[in-house]
């Protein structure tokens, strides 16, 4: 398999080139700009067959994506933070119309105050819009996830828009060696979109987005929820197929040295990589530490998580977004719900960390593991890396 040095953004642009979508509509925003900017050069050089629309705002970008996807096209876009926020109005429309739009979202803190660095507040605020959400730990995963996202979104039993995220700058701008599928192999893997209905099918005219009052709205929302629940098994099937092609294994979650772990951290994105380094260090000293990385946040893998954490004594859930006075950050609240009522469950504590790109060091993670060793003395809700 060919290898190349790519940043997270370049890796995602490369995946887009191989996917060769019919339509891309996007608007520049740091730190995601490069993805579509590189892709624009592919369009200009005739390397893809894409209609590329440099629209005047993210609101227009997602609207154009909805229109093109409703017309049966395979559609992609990329954005970040405020750009994603400007799309919020359209995101639930994409899922309600069951349009398998694929998005690269580079996680960046929401304004204000204005900030361009990584946290997960943008993606987490979009968690209830009916989009599948897949987090990446590094550039390789960003590439792999984006390729798989096409199949996931367009699966006939799923038909839901899908966003693949990377961590702003930490992944988006860092150069890594990654493995890339052969073009033909990628093309075969993603196949062609077969839309069930299309606005361009003039022989069979349809109406999309019609008024849906109390008579049917609820049923349509239930269908989105059902599709989201169904999606888990199809994500696993597609991951298996991807593994056969690449040897790289994907699941809804990744358990790292978790089987016999007594203390563990749950993390998403690049922090999982930092945590792995600390787990290795602690293991070499005889401490039974582990990591549970959440790859797929929507659909939320509650069962898999509860099972994986059942035998761990103490767990710290790391949230790179705050939910201001809720019972923990968004990841923590999901996990504590998933564990509620289980006879075998760990003691849980929560940390909100890394907001606005505050650096996450090996020392920070060591600190969390050390807190876990005295969990009985710890408050449930904590922060690290912040001046108080």
């Amino acid at each position: 398999m060919p290898t190349a040095a790519k940043t997270g953004n370049e890796a995602m642009a490369e995946a887009m080139r191989q996917i060769n979508p019919d339509v891309v509509a996007a608007y520049p925003i740091t730190p995601a700009t490069e993805i579509v900017m590189i892709f624009a050069s592919f369009v200009a050089d005739g390397l893809v067959d894409t209609e590329y629309i440099p629209v005047e705002s993210e609101h227009s970008a997602m609207s154009a994506c909805v229109g093109a996807s409703a017309a049966g096209a395979r559609v992609m876009t990329g954005t970040s933070s405020q750009g994603l926020a400007l799309m919020y109005e359209i995101l639930p429309i994409a899922s309600a119309l069951r349009l398998p739009i694929i998005m690269s979202d580079v996680n960046r803190a929401l304004s204000g105050p204005i900030n361009i660095h990584c946290d997960h507040s943008d993606t987490m605020a979009a968690r209830d819009f009916g989009w599948i959400q897949i987090f990446s730990e590094n550039a390789q995963e960003a590439y792999d996830n984006l390729i798989q996202a096409v199949r996931i979104a367009e699966h006939p039993k799923v038909k839901l828009p899908t966003m693949v995220t990377t961590d702003g700058f930490i992944i988006s701008h860092c150069l890594e060696k990654i493995e890339i599928l052969e073009d033909a192999q990628a093309k075969q893997f993603v196949g062609e979109r077969k839309a069930e209905v299309s606005l361009l099918d003039v022989e069979h005219p349809v109406t999309l987005g019609a008024l849906d009052l109390p008579d049917y709205y609820f049923e349509h929302k239930l269908q989105v929820a059902e599709a989201m629940r169904q999606a888990s098994q199809h994500i696993l099937e597609i991951a298996k197929e991807f593994e056969q092609q690449t040897g790289r294994k994907y699941d809804l979650i990744e358990n790292y040295k978790l089987d016999d772990a007594e203390i563990a951290i749950v993390a998403l994105g690049s922090t999982a990589g930092t945590t792995k380094a600390v787990v290795d260090e602690l293991r070499s000293k005889g401490v039974k530490a582990g990591l549970l990385k959440i790859r797929v946040f929507r659909p939320f893998p509650a069962e898999a998580l509860a099972k994986a954490l059942a035998n761990v004594a103490a767990v710290a859930v790391l949230d790179r977004a705050d939910s201001y006075s809720a019972q923990g950050g968004p990841v923590y609240t999901e996990i504590s719900s998933a564990l509620y009522g289980k006879t075998k469950a760990p003691k849980l504590i929560n940390y909100v960390y890394g907001l606005g790109g505050r650096d996450v060091t090996i020392d920070d993670i060591r600190g969390v593991f050390s807190d876990l060793q005295k969990i009985d003395k710890m408050p449930t809700f904590n922060y690290f890396g912040v001046r108080e």
Binding site: Y27, P28, I29, T30, T33, E34, V36, M37, A40, S41, A44, D45, Y52, P54, E56, S57, E58, Q82, L86, S111, G112, I114
Partner: protein
Amino acid sequence: MPEEDISKYLRLDKLPHIWCPGCGNGIVLHAVLRAIGKLQLDQDKVAVVSGIGCSSRSAGYVDFNTLHTTHGRAIAFATGIKLARPDMTVIVLTGDGDCAAIGGNHLIHAARRNIDLTVVVFNNSIYGMTGGQSSPTTQPDDIAATAPYGNLENAFDLCELARASGASYAARSTTFHATQLPLLVEKGIQNKGFSFLDVITACPVYFGRMNKMPEAVDMLKYQRDNARNIKQWSTMTDEEKGGKFVIGELHNKPAPEYTDLYAALRARLKENK
């Protein structure tokens, strides 16, 4: 030859600024500060509002009431300030992408209301901060990061857009015309109504490098060689106007201002009580 010391208007502890070598933004900001100095405005009665982009960093560098907002929305935030405090001078510092793409809707509606804002567009024909993508003022055939073989879209004539939308004052100048620029800004601030200033500025690092003007001087020469003053412009044929642009005061037609109308309505309704 700076006529007046504008350093009192700067937050000197926030300098140096982030703008690239050769960027014209400093010239534009300097012109705005000179106009404020000339008018001897009370520093505490001036609000400077910006959006997102290179130009919008200005709000952080100047010592007035300042508000750095979201991409495209500076005019909307400024409208709120003006309505709450009609006695204040409200100045919007924005860029072509900020003002005419993502924020285009706010521009035309604020102009339509003729609300007393002075909007200064740092027009560099490109999204500079994100690396040189085409904007609504990128001319056809110009090269941009998202248009490597030339831009296919038409560009806005921003002064025409503002005038047609209802602005009572519209002017254009460039960073080459550094003596004309503050005078036009000054008149814009003095106009009681929506004042629009389209300032052609240089982004040699992104726009220039992609368009055979990699040095700041190249871009200033471009401005010098292609700008035509309004008097001369009116005598030129369409053919002669090709590739050139007009500078100067392009529109000045005082009209009832929104916060005045609002205050008058309130007074009338109170009287009738």
